[in-house]
Point group: C2
Chain length 418, copies 2
C-alpha cells in the first residue's frame, strides 16, 4: 500500500536550478514506497490554497529527468507570503483541509527565508490542530542570503553567469576603449546582499583586469569617491568596468534607483542602477559609456549553469525526501563545506526556525578595504561554487528544455479566495 502523498511547492524568484531540486524530490519519492504521489502546487503555495494540485505522476520518467536541465519553475512559483497564524488562521486551516482532502502527509517547501518561515509555521500549526504534517524546507535563492547553509542552490549558477559575462564584456570594452567606450557598467541582482556582485570578482585574473569596481549593498555608496575611482582606473588602465548590485545605496539608505513599487513580501522592486551610474559618470567625466542590466537573464541562464550548483540543487531535493522518510520534521537540508581546496561538500541538517527570516550578508572580510573589490578569502569561498559546466541538450540551436503537462488533480473542496 502506498503511503501518504507529498506536496511540493516552489516559492519566490525562480532559478536556473530549482527544477533540478524538483527532479531530486520526485525521483527520490518515486523510488520510495513510503510515499504516495507527488503533487506540486500550481504557482507554489497559491496552488495549495486554491486546491490546484499538479499530479506529477502523469509525467514520464524522461520528462522528470529533463527538469534537471530546465530553468525556471516548471510548476509555477509565486511571491506570496502567508500571514501569521494569529492574523490569518483561515489560510492555515485551508491548507490543512486541502492536505487532508488529498491524503497529503508531507510538505516540501522550496524557497528562501520567507518560505522556510512559512514551512515552519505550517509544521507548528498542524501539530497544534492534531493533523501533523511533515514539513521539510528546501533551500533555494540566487541571493545566497540564507544562514547556516554554506551556499544556496541557485546562487552558483547566477554567480557563474555573472563571472563569465563580466569576463566577456570586459574583453569587449578593453578592445574598443581607445576610440570608443571607456566605461561599462553591469547591473546585477542582490537586493540587500552583495553575493552576486561579488561573483563578478571571479573574472579578475590580473591586477588591472576587469571588474575594476564592484558596488555592494553592504558598502554605502559615496558618489565623489566612486567618480574619482572611475577616473583613476581609466587614467591607468584605459577603461573601467563596473559591476553594481541592484541594491547599491547611499549612506542614508536611499537606493540609487528605486523602481517605486514593492512586491508581496514588502521588498522594493529595484532596477536602473546602471543607467544612474552612467549618468553620473558622463556628467562628471564625459566618457562614452555603455551599460547592461542582466535582470532575469542572469537567474534563468541554465545554459551556463554551474555543475556544482546543479548537483547541490538535485542533492537537497533528494535529501529532503530522505529526511522525511527518516521521520524528521521542521528541518531543511543544508550544504556543508568540508573543504575549499579541493572543494568537498556534504548535506547537513538545520531546524527551519534557525533559517527563517534571517538574511546573511557578505562578511566585511570578503570585501577589500576600499570597498570596491573582493578579497582572497571571498575568492576562496566563491570559486568552488561556479566550478564545472553542465550543458543542457540542444535542438535546432536552442536548449531542449522540457515543458510538463501539468495536469491538475480533480478538486474535492469548495473554492477558496487565496
Amino acid at each position: 500500500m502506498a503511503g501518504k502523498n507529498v506536496f511540493y511547492a516552489q516559492s519566490g524568484g525562480v532559478t536556473a536550478v530549482i527544477n533540478a531540486t524538483a527532479c531530486g524530490v520526485i525521483e527520490a519519492a518515486r523510488a520510495n514506497r513510503r510515499f504516495g504521489k507527488v503533487y506540486a502546487g500550481h504557482n507554489g503555495i497559491i496552488g495549495a490554497l486554491r486546491e490546484e494540485l499538479i499530479d506529477t505522476s502523469k509525467e514520464s520518467k524522461k520528462a522528470i529527468a529533463g527538469l534537471r536541465h530546465t530553468p525556471s519553475g516548471a510548476f509555477g512559483s509565486c511571491r506570496y507570503k502567508l500571514a501569521s497564524v494569529a492574523d490569518n488562521r483561515a489560510q492555515y486551516e485551508r491548507l490543512l483541509e486541502v492536505f487532508k482532502a488529498h491524503d497529503i502527509g508531507y510538505f516540501f517547501y522550496n524557497g528562501g527565508g520567507d518560505s522556510q518561515d512559512t514551512a515552519n509555521k505550517v509544521a507548528a500549526f498542524s501539530q497544534e490542530v492534531g493533523y501533523p504534517i511533515t514539513c521539510i524546507g528546501i533551500p533555494k535563492t540566487v541571493d545566497n542570503d540564507l544562514p547556516i547553509t554554506d551556499c544556496c542552490p541557485g546562487f552558483g549558477s547566477v554567480a557563474k553567469y555573472v563571472a563569465v559575462s563580466t569576463f566577456e564584456a570586459g574583453l569587449d570594452v578593453a578592445s574598443m576603449a581607445e576610440s570608443s567606450t571607456r566605461v561599462f557598467v553591469l547591473e546585477v541582482m542582490g537586493r540587500h546582499a552583495g553575493w552576486i556582485a561579488a561573483a563578478a570578482g571571479l573574472a579578475k585574473d590580473t591586477k588591472d583586469s576587469p571588474p575594476h569596481i564592484i558596488l555592494f549593498p553592504e558598502i554605502a555608496f559615496d558618489e565623489a569617491a566612486f567618480l574619482s575611482r572611475v577616473k583613476a582606473v581609466v587614467d591607468k588602465v584605459g577603461y573601467c568596468v563596473v559591476v553594481a548590485s541592484e541594491g547599491t545605496h547611499y549612506a542614508d539608505g536611499r537606493f540609487l534607483a528605486d523602481g517605486g513599487t514593492t512586491d508581496a513580501f514588502g521588498h522594493t522592486q529595484l532596477g536602473g542602477v546602471a543607467p544612474s551610474l552612467v549618468d553620473m559618470i558622463k556628467r562628471a567625466h564625459g566618457y562614452k559609456c555603455h551599460w547592461s542590466v542582466a535582470d532575469y537573464l542572469q537567474r534563468a541562464a541554465r545554459h551556463i549553469a554551474s555543475k556544482t550548483d546543479v548537483e547541490q540543487a538535485y542533492a537537497v531535493g533528494r535529501a529532503a525526501v530522505e529526511f522525511a522518510a527518516a521521520g524528521k520534521n521542521a528541518v531543511l537540508p543544508v550544504i556543508v563545506r568540508e573543504k575549499s581546496k579541493p572543494y568537498k561538500w556534504s548535506i547537513g541538517e538545520a531546524p527551519l526556525s534557525r533559517v527563517a527570516n534571517v538574511e546573511r550578508k557578505m562578511p566585511r572580510s570578503f570585501i577589500t578595504r576600499d570597498g570596491y573589490g573582493i578579497t582572497a578569502k571571498a575568492y576562496e569561498y566563491l570559486s568552488p561554487l561556479i566550478q564545472g559546466e553542465d550543458y543542457p541538450p540542444y535542438k535546432d540551436g536552442v536548449p531542449a528544455y522540457v515543458r510538463l503537462k501539468n495536469e491538475l488533480v480533480k478538486k474535492k473542496l469548495p473554492a477558496f479566495d487565496a
Copy 2:
C-alpha cells in the same frame, strides 16, 4: 625568401567570433610561404596610422589557435572612419608610408560596411600612387546588415545568445506571472536593421510562447497599438515577453531612447528602449514589469557562440588569405547559402565596391503582417545560423580565453597624429 608582410586590422564593434577570423587569417598566412609576417593593427586602423603594429609571429601556435574560442578583438579594434582621399589625402599617404616601411603588401580589413569602404579606397589610392597594396575585406558585424553575403560572421552567435536568453527569461516570467511580473522587456542591439531582434523569434516553440512581441527598426512604433497588444497578450497568455531592438523608433524617425551622443561614424549611441517601454506599460496598464538591456553581453557571449558562426568566421579569414594568394584584389569573401534544409554553405566572392556603405534591412516578408513577429521565411533563414554549440575550454569555472603578448614592431617613422 618570404614574401611581403600582411597587415590585418579589426574594425568597429567587436564580436564573439572576430578573433576566430583572425585565427583563420594568421594560420592560413603562416602556412603559405608567399606571405611574410602577419602584423596586426593595435586598435585597428589607428595602429597603422600610428605605426603601432603588433608582431603576431611572436605568438605561439597555441595562442593563435586559442583565438578561435576567444571573444572581442584580441589586437584592439576601433571606431574610426577614414575621410575621403580628397578630404584627407595625408592619412592615405601615411598608411602607404607605414606599409612601405614594414614591407607590407597585403591589407586585410575585418569589419562592416564602413570598413569595406575604407579598404576599397586604400586599394584605389595605392594603385593611383604606384605602390599597389592587395586589399581584401573580411566581413564582420553582429548587425548582419551587409549586402550580398548571406549572413555576417558575428551575427549567428549574437542571434543564438538572444534566442537562448529570450527562451530562458520567458520560462522565468511564465512561472512567476500569477503573482509577480507580467511583462518582461529585453532590449537588444540593431540600430537600423532588426536581424538581432528577429533572432528572438527562434525561441518561440508554440503559438502562445515567448516572445510575444518583437519591435523592429523596420516597423514604425505605434504606442497605442503596442500597448493594446501587450494587454491582449497578458489577458490571453497571462504574461507578455517583448524583445525590442535598440533602434525602435516612431514614424517620424525619433528613437524611443536617444542617448544623445554620436560615435565616430556619426551614428547615434542608443540605449534605454527597454525602460522607456516599461514606463509606458506601467502607466497604461499598471502591470509589474521587469526589463533587461543585453548590450555588450550579447556580442561578447562566446560561451554560447553558434558553431556555424564560428566555422564561418574562421573560413572567411582563411578565404581572405587564399584570395590574396590567388592574386585577387579589392574583393571580400562572402557566405553563400547553398541550401537551407539541410543547411549548406560555401564561400563566394564579392567586389568591395558593392558592399561598401550599403545597409541591408530585414525584408518585409520576414516580418509578420502585424509587425510584431517573424514569418516562417525568416525562421528558415535564421535557424541554420544558430545551429551547433562550440564551447570554449574552462579553467576554475570561467572560460580559458587567451590573452596575447601583443608585442609591437619597432617604429621606423616619425610620429603621426591619427
